[in-house]
């Protein structure tokens, strides 16, 4: 992993069109500002991981559950 030291107000660039600015540093909190193209999604990691896990779980929906939902709605 590349490690860079930055002060408050300083930034890094990733490729040509992503900019990460250190907005504020306070005790053990760092506030970051991110400029990225619209097509690129930016999320807090723990939320991204949770959605990933939810998606994996959704992709293994048991067939009897989907069958039950279908029967209910076809009535």
């Amino acid at each position: 992993m590349l490690v860079l030291t930055r002060k408050s107000g300083e930034a890094i660039r990733i490729g040509g069109d992503i900019k990460v600015v250190v907005v504020e540093v306070k005790e053990n909190h760092v506030k970051l500002g991110i400029e990225a193209p619209a097509a690129m999604s930016v999320h807090r990691e723990e939320i991204f991981i949770r959605i990933q896990e939810e998606n994996l779980s959704a992709s293994t929906l048991p067939a009897d559950v989907s069958d039950t939902l279908k029967r209910l709605k076809n009535k």
Binding site: S41, H43, I51, E53, S59, S66, L69, K70, N74
Partner: protein, 148 residues
């Protein structure tokens, strides 16, 4: 005849749930950003599950095994609405909000059927672009239990 064939291309692919499917290219939904956990999959199709169309399968064209059951969240939580971000609207190239459809994934956990209200899927029916939003709000649960 030839002209019609050139303008609408048919694609054939395998699926685990539905066997071999053959659909027109214009029915393909594209997730330019992928779906978290399935980042290599970009092309999907929606298939009705029940006769009322309340549940739909989002089936991957690229992986026969990957399909998500989706439903309209407002049937179960009427006040639910996706907070739309400018970036998402740009990604989907939304010209008319009427063409925007949001559906949520159905899960089964601990013996209950749940909806993931934190990760709705947005579709722009005008251009078949779609993305999964991530909503960071405590009142929208990722395991919203529905009674069926």
């Amino acid at each position: 005849m030839n002209v019609a064939r050139e303008s609408t291309q048919e694609i054939v692919f395998e699926t685990h749930r539905f066997g071999t499917l053959s659909i027109m290219e214009e029915k393909v939904i594209s997730f330019a950003q992928g779906i978290p956990g399935f980042k290599n999959l970009r092309r999907f199709i929606l298939i009705d599950h029940d006769s009322e169309g309340l549940f739909k399968w989002l089936q991957s064209i690229e992986d026969p095994l990957v399909a998500f059951l989706l439903t309209n969240p407002n049937v179960y939580k009427p006040e639910y609405s996706v907070p739309l971000r400018k970036n998402d609207l740009e990604t989907l190239d939304v010209k008319d909000m009427k063409n925007l459809v949001s559906l949520v994934m159905v899960c089964f956990a601990n013996g209950k059927v749940t909806l993931n209200l934190k990760g709705p899927v947005l579709f722009n029916s005008e251009n078949m672009r779609a993305l999964q939003c991530i909503i960071d709000r405590d009142d929208y649960q990722s395991h919203f239990v529905i009674n069926i």
